[in-house]
């Protein structure tokens, strides 16, 4: 057994709101992939922020790097110690070029006052090559897809020739074959004897890459186990504290009349000639590679950026939806990809987020918001979706990923929309919450709502949908009934 690169113990972190970490421990040796798992809010990202020197642990924490006890008082300390991080939210500079985002770090680290662009570009090109991404180094980052941004983030971590790389949910925006590339990257990082700390909610990839697991629950350390000694179920029950079974809900009978009909929908540079019918009580899963144009298509239907051509019928009547407001009037709801920027108003309370689309419903005679009835119904939704903590006055930003997603769901369900489009509903959501969200979606369907689920995660698609559309390069490349389907069959349509 090689000697450890990093060993920490007695690490606690208290926020005004919660105790995010309650003296946990963790260690990692060079060349291993050590996965950190736990439900939303278990404290994974918090630990990462501590290891990256971005936040300081409470007193009494012990951090040993390469045998020497140290303190990480600032980001620079961590970087100098050879720890570099790929954050859950990338933390790239959208306004700068890919090259600069990747190349600048070393210069900052060495604190060289004057910089040579040639050097930076070369470094960037090299790093991009390592992660095998074809991205123009001169491109401005905010013009890249989520997926490409993710690759850039990884590249810039690689570029710092670090001894330990932390990946916080690196695949949440990656599609299948990009994930494959990531696996390769991880492999040759291991060969370079770099320690990798890996955080993810996706079982299959956890077991694919990890050598060891450390499990947190509600900020507490649970256990550390070798990957080969445990099964998925063991791991899940260690994380959640109970058993969670992934059901398949597919239900090919008793669907109602057509709720939504799309004919030849096209938008230049987004998608082309989309046709499908969606029935009441039915769940359609739309999958494909990231960048296939699924969100774009959904957002076109929802009126965020309307299509160039094509027809949309709601319950048989043709509609021309130019804005989300109109979509809402036609009973269409869209739960966007990014809950942080599009789904939630983070600095506001759960209550104001949930009631936002239906505010007018709570107006009393003189047109003011009736706080009592508002609170009453909010309590109902928080109750029904089991948002934790269940205090409507909690700020959305204080919630962990899963609970944030539940709030977004609650918001749209409360509109009683008859047509519901959910884009990557369980992105960064833990197994437990994931199952609950699937349940909710199916429950709505069983009550007659027509649902579209957009997801890159095939197990999810296979679990929730009755019918599955596969998109490729802005077109619908294939359609399946969800009956004895395999992931391979779907992928064959998704990739060329």
């Amino acid at each position: 057994m090689k000697e450890k690169f990093l060993e920490i113990s007695n690490v606690s972190k208290t926020f005004p709101g919660v105790k995010a970490l309650d003296n946990v421990k963790f260690d990692i040796v060079p060349g291993e992939v050590h996965a950190l798992v736990g439900e939303n809010g278990a404290g994974k990202s918090t630990l990462i922020k501590i290891l990256s020197g971005f936040q300081q642990p409470d007193l009494g924490a012990k951090i040993v790097i390469e045998g020497k006890e140290t303190k990480l008082n600032g980001v620079m300390d961590a970087i100098r110690q050879g720890i570099s991080v790929v954050y859950q939210d990338f933390s790239l500079f959208g306004n700068l070029t890919v090259a600069e985002n990747i190349g600048i770090n070393e210069i900052i680290e060495k604190n060289r006052p004057v910089l040579k662009w040639k050097e930076i570009n070369e470094k960037a090109v090299k790093a991009l090559a390592i992660v095998g991404a074809e991205i123009d180094p001169k491109e401005i980052v905010e013009n890249l897809s989520v997926a490409k941004q993710q690759m850039v983030a990884i590249a810039s971590a690689v570029a710092q020739d670090a001894k330990m790389i932390i990946l916080d949910e690196p695949t949440s925006a990656l599609s299948r074959n990009e994930v494959e590339t990531l696996y390769d990257i991880i492999d040759n990082l291991k060969k370079k004897n770099i320690a990798i700390m890996f955080v993810s909610h996706k079982m299959e990839e956890l077991f694919h890459v990890s050598d060891r697991f450390t499990i947190f629950r509600d900020g507490q350390y649970v256990d550390t186990v070798d990957a080969k000694d445990v099964t998925e179920d063991d791991l899940v029950s260690m994380m959640v504290g109970r058993k969670v079974e992934i059901k398949s809900y597919a239900n090919l009978e008793n669907k109602g009349p057509v709720a939504l009909k799309v004919e030849g929908l096209s938008k230049k540079g987004n998608f082309k000639n989309i046709n499908f019918e969606l029935h009441e009580g039915e769940v359609i899963g739309i999958t494909g590679l990231v960048g296939a144009g699924r969100s774009e298509m959904a957002q076109a239907i929802f009126g965020i950026n309307p299509p160039d051509s094509g027809k949309v019928y709601v319950r048989g009547k043709e509609v021309h939806i130019k804005s989300p407001a109109q979509a809402l009037q036609h009973g269409i709801a869209y739960i966007p990809e990014s809950r942080q920027t599009q789904g939630l108003v983070l600095p506001k309370t759960i209550e104001s987020n949930i009631t936002l689309p239906v505010l007018k419903k709570y107006r009393n005679k003189i047109g003011l918001i009736d706080r009592k009835t508002q609170r009453a119904s909010v309590d109902k939704w928080v109750e029904m979706l089991d948002v934790r903590p269940n205090d409507p006055d909690m700020l959305a930003m204080q919630l962990s990923g899963g609970n944030q997603q539940k709030v977004v769901l609650a918001k749209w369900i409360s509109t009683q929309a008859k047509i519901l489009i959910v884009d990557e509903p369980t992105n960064g959501v833990d197994v437990g919450a994931k199952a609950e969200i699937h349940q909710i979606i199916r429950k709505l369907a069983s009550e007659g709502t027509a649902v579209i689920v957009i997801s890159s995660e095939l197990p999810e698609i296979l679990s929730v949908s009755d019918r599955i559309l596969v998109m490729r390069k802005g077109r619908i490349a294939g359609e399946f009934l969800n009956k004895d389907l395999t992931q391979e069959m779907i992928m064959s349509k998704a990739v060329v």
Partner: protein
């Protein structure tokens, strides 16, 4: 070549270049005096002060900040060097300029410290500092002019290279050059763009954000100081009252030059264009014999149109952006 043309049209600055060109063409037809070397030198000289301060303001806006205190800072610097020259009648321009820049930088540092230590939003901090410094200056001077500056200063101010290029234009070019070098080739400079893009990310990659912020405001103050030197080298005496309202003119100059008040974007080239646009406008209004009572109306319209055109262009670009490579 064609490609170059394309990129050129894509540039953020394209909109404003267009406006400047159109204006100039119109003016050239309206007045023979417009397109002459002397006229151009004249209006660049008389706008050099705004220009210099604009280059100081640029990094501030890039960092998503704002500095309202520049008008007070320039007043303070002007008064200080005015008194300095009376006290040391045989010093020399270089020293005077240095003094001005140091005084300005000092005010900037105070801004920076308040912003970083108490994280009070820049607009608030600088508003407060503006009120205080302004009050102090006028309390101290009673608004009295400082005149009778030494001869060497007067001749420094009225010097023209080859009898054409005025001193103040060199100061302007110097300011622009320094700003450009800092923004493009120094770590701090890139840090400024980083902070403007995402402050939390800037912290995560290891930029010392506080130090960067303090630098930004110090630099802005310093340029205001240089502006003071340029200004009193033009007018030959110090009127502490003359600088009120400068802050808004300077800021509008920079944003006309394509810097976004949301931060993250902005270039020296753009700002230069902004300065030129403002200069051409003021100069043109008179040469074109626009009725004086309508000048402000024209000014206001041009500002609104210019910023709107810019935004509309950018939106069109965004819309054109291919989000998915659709299989045809």
């Amino acid at each position: 070549m064609k490609n170059f043309a394309k990129n050129f049209v894509k540039r953020k600055e394209f909109g404003i270049i267009l406006i400047v060109v159109i204006l100039s063409v119109i003016l050239t037809f309206l007045s023979s005096a417009f397109l002459t070397v002397t006229n151009i030198m004249d209006f660049m000289k008389s706008n050099s002060v705004y220009g210099i301060m604009a280059f100081g303001m640029l990094p501030v806006l890039i960092s998503a900040g704002i500095d309202l205190s520049v008008s007070a800072t320039i007043a303070l610097s002007a008064v200080v060097i005015g008194k300095f020259m009376l006290a040391f009648p045989n010093s020399n321009p270089v020293i005077v300029i240095l003094v001005a820049m140091i005084v300005g930088a000092a005010v900037g540092v105070i801004n920076g410290l308040i912003i970083t230590k108490f994280n009070i939003p820049p607009i608030v901090t600088t508003l407060g500092v503006m009120t205080i410094v302004n009050g102090a200056v006028l309390l101290g001077t009673g608004g009295a002019w400082i005149s009778g500056l030494p001869q060497w200063w007067v001749s420094f101010g009225s010097f023209k290279l080859f009898g054409i290029v005025p001193t103040q234009l060199f100061m302007l070019i110097f300011a622009g050059l320094v700003t450009w070098l800092i923004l493009k080739f120094t770590l701090v400079g890139r840090g400024i763009y980083a902070v403007g893009g995402s402050q939390s990310s800037a912290v995560r990659v290891g930029y010392n954000v506080n130090r960067i912020l303090i630098f930004i405001y110090a630099f802005c103050g310093m340029m205001a100081g240089l502006g003071a030197a340029a200004h009193i080298s033009i007018v030959g005496q110090v009127d502490p009252n003359t600088y009120t309202g400068y802050e808004l003119d300077v800021i509008s100059t920079v944003v006309l030059g394509g810097a976004s008040v949301m931060g993250g974007t902005g270039t020296v080239f753009g700002t230069t264009l902004g300065v030129i646009l403002m200069a051409v406008l003021k100069n043109g209004l008179i040469l074109a014999r626009i009725p004086n009572y309508w000048q402000k109306v024209v000014m206001g319209l041009v500002i609104i149109i210019a910023v709107s055109v810019d935004v509309i262009n950018r939106k069109r670009e965004q819309a054109k952006l291919v989000r998915v490579d659709v299989e045809e």
